[in-house]
């Protein structure tokens, strides 16, 4: 069996499972954010009405709100807090950071476990060798909360083997954006994706993270990276909780292998309306932007802040450009303070925001008028997600975001790297 099959077999008490089978498995962690948490809690209390069986496995993070902008929102957050208290679930309040980063940093994501969530980017946790996938409110409210279980169809697995060395200025995020276009939106519907190869092996955990992040955009169910010493050391640095990592028995336990050599790859940009609308930065260069952001759950990692600071240090944003910097967790902000990045980016003209999910869905910040455009490290660029459906959202690496902010137009970061 491969990693996903092994985890699902163990969690459902079977000796063996195969693709296509439906299993009912134990769930180790349920991650909810302020919006999905509210919707799920209503279904759970109004339509299910049973006690929460394992509240210690339920984690709610207020990541879209770092502070409620309206009375209505304040009421929703209060309802969520009361819900978490009533049932004894974990709560990370406003200002904690992005749901997935907070989950990882607090030890709720461990190799070999089953992690579910309402957020469609929940598969990102496969980076740590989990079976992780997004489920809907009714699964969470109807099965996970009252019984600690969920139903899953065991997916077929596709191995994505990445070889070659990245050129200077091309980053792991560029590879991930490129792969979204190559595989195509809906190009891997229902599959499990195994990210492997020398490129993945050589990356640190937070850079590997950018690959399972695209799971949802290509329509897949989950993704994973085989856990190695780096994974184990990383998780050990986050938590003392025990875990038992599992790996695939052999590399051929998959339906297909898709190989990509990344050595020639240029920095990439994905423009609205969808993630699949991706191409080399040169294809979009010169398009005006007024907003830049390191945030959303794709960004705000310390790696992103460092990369942007390398481009921006000692320079200043173009006139008319606003640049939001949103750390993905409090820990990242601490590191940014210690490394002097807070000052560097501030002096370059950027504005710091509290740890959160940033302007994803424009709940606390980041709405755009129809004539505006943003370049960001977000995970999404659908029309209407950040204000006007006519506004443009360009996605790129932190280096591309920073370079574009210096010019006020989509720009190739390689021009600014010494």
């Amino acid at each position: 069996m491969n990693l996903v099959e092994k985890i699902l077999a163990r969690a459902s008490g079977r000796a063996k499972v195969s693709p296509g089978e439906v299993v009912v498995a134990n769930v180790d962690t349920l991650l909810l954010h302020d919006l999905s948490g509210y919707l799920t809690s209503k279904v759970f209390e109004e339509e299910v009405g049973l006690p929460m069986r394992y509240p210690e496995r339920v984690v709610m993070v207020f990541d879209h709100h770092f502070s409620p902008p309206t009375e209505e929102r304040a009421r929703i957050l209060e309802a969520n807090r009361a819900f978490a208290r009533r049932h004894g679930a974990h709560l990370f309040d406003c200002g904690s950071g992005n749901i997935h980063h907070v989950g990882v940093r607090n030890g709720f994501v461990r190799p070999g476990t089953v992690v579910v969530g309402s957020d469609s980017h929940t598969p990102v946790h496969g980076t740590l060798g989990c079976f992780a996938t997004g489920l809907g409110n009714n699964s969470h409210a109807g099965m996970v909360m009252p019984f600690g279980k969920a139903w899953f169809r065991v997916p077929e697995t596709i191995r994505i083997e990445l070889s070659g060395r990245l050129r200077p200025g091309t980053t792991p995020r560029d590879v991930a954006l490129y792969l979204t276009g190559e595989i195509g939106e809906g190009g891997a519907v229902y599959k499990a994706l195994a990210f492997t190869g020398e490129l993945i092996d050589g990356l640190e955990v937070w850079d590997r993270w950018l690959f399972p992040l695209i799971t949802i955009d290509v329509g897949a169910k989950c993704a994973f990276v085989e856990p190695d010493e780096k994974t184990v050391a990383f998780v050990r640095s986050m938590t003392g909780e025990p875990f038992e990592a599992v790996g695939s028995d052999s590399a051929d336990e998959c339906e297909a292998i898709w190989e990509h050599d990344v050595s020639e790859l240029e920095p990439q940009v994905a423009a609205s309306p969808t993630l699949g609308n991706v191409g080399p930065v040169s294809a979009f260069a010169g398009r005006a932007i007024q907003w830049a952001e390191l945030g959303g759950h794709g960004g705000g990692r310390i790696e992103d802040l460092r990369m942007a600071a390398d481009v921006l240090r000692g320079r200043h944003l173009a006139a008319g450009v606003k640049f939001n910097v949103v750390p993905s967790s409090r820990e990242v902000f601490t590191e940014a303070c210690r490394e002097g990045l807070v000052e560097d980016l501030h002096l370059a003209g950027c504005t710091w925001f509290p740890p959160s999910t940033g302007s994803n869905q424009a709940i606390n910040m980041g709405a755009l008028a129809d004539t505006e455009a943003m370049v960001s490290t977000h995970a999404r660029n659908f029309p209407g997600r950040n204000g006007s459906a006519k506004a443009m959202m360009y996605l790129g690496s932190a280096a591309t975001v920073a370079a574009s902010a210096l010019r006020g137009q989509i720009s190739d970061p390689r021009e600014f790297l010494s």
Partner: protein
Amino acid sequence: MQARGRCWVFGDNIPTDQIVRSDRALVSLGEMAAHVLENLNPDFPGGVRPGDILVAGRHFGQSSGRAIAPKALQATGIGAIVVEYAARLFYRNCFEIGLPLLECPGITDGVEEGDVLAVDMTAGTVVDETIGRRFSARPVDPFLMEMLEAGGVIPMAARLAGEGEA
């Protein structure tokens, strides 16, 4: 399990954000239904009648996994959704809330807005009665058919969890 009604036709790769705007995520289902899909067809929310059939292209319902998108569509009273293929979470959510959905390759080639469609979930067929053409759908897993007949995942959850009838 059957549905029959006029159809509304939408395109490819429609994200849930276009079905229900994310800034409306916390309003009532009725209010969501009053604006559902309006960005793509302003006549839809006002014109859709109970029993109508929604037809769309590839990777319908991508993006968010929140079940509000299918719930808002369900709140309009539509009888079924027929798509080339659906995003995984959208697919799962439809069965979990008891909203019939069929994946029917080729459907957007033949069918035109306003045609009368007869959808048979059990047989896995869609007939366009206006042009007299029949399409066959990808088979639905028996487990999901059972869920649909039960009215969604909540009514069968206890049994699935191995704890007897709910």
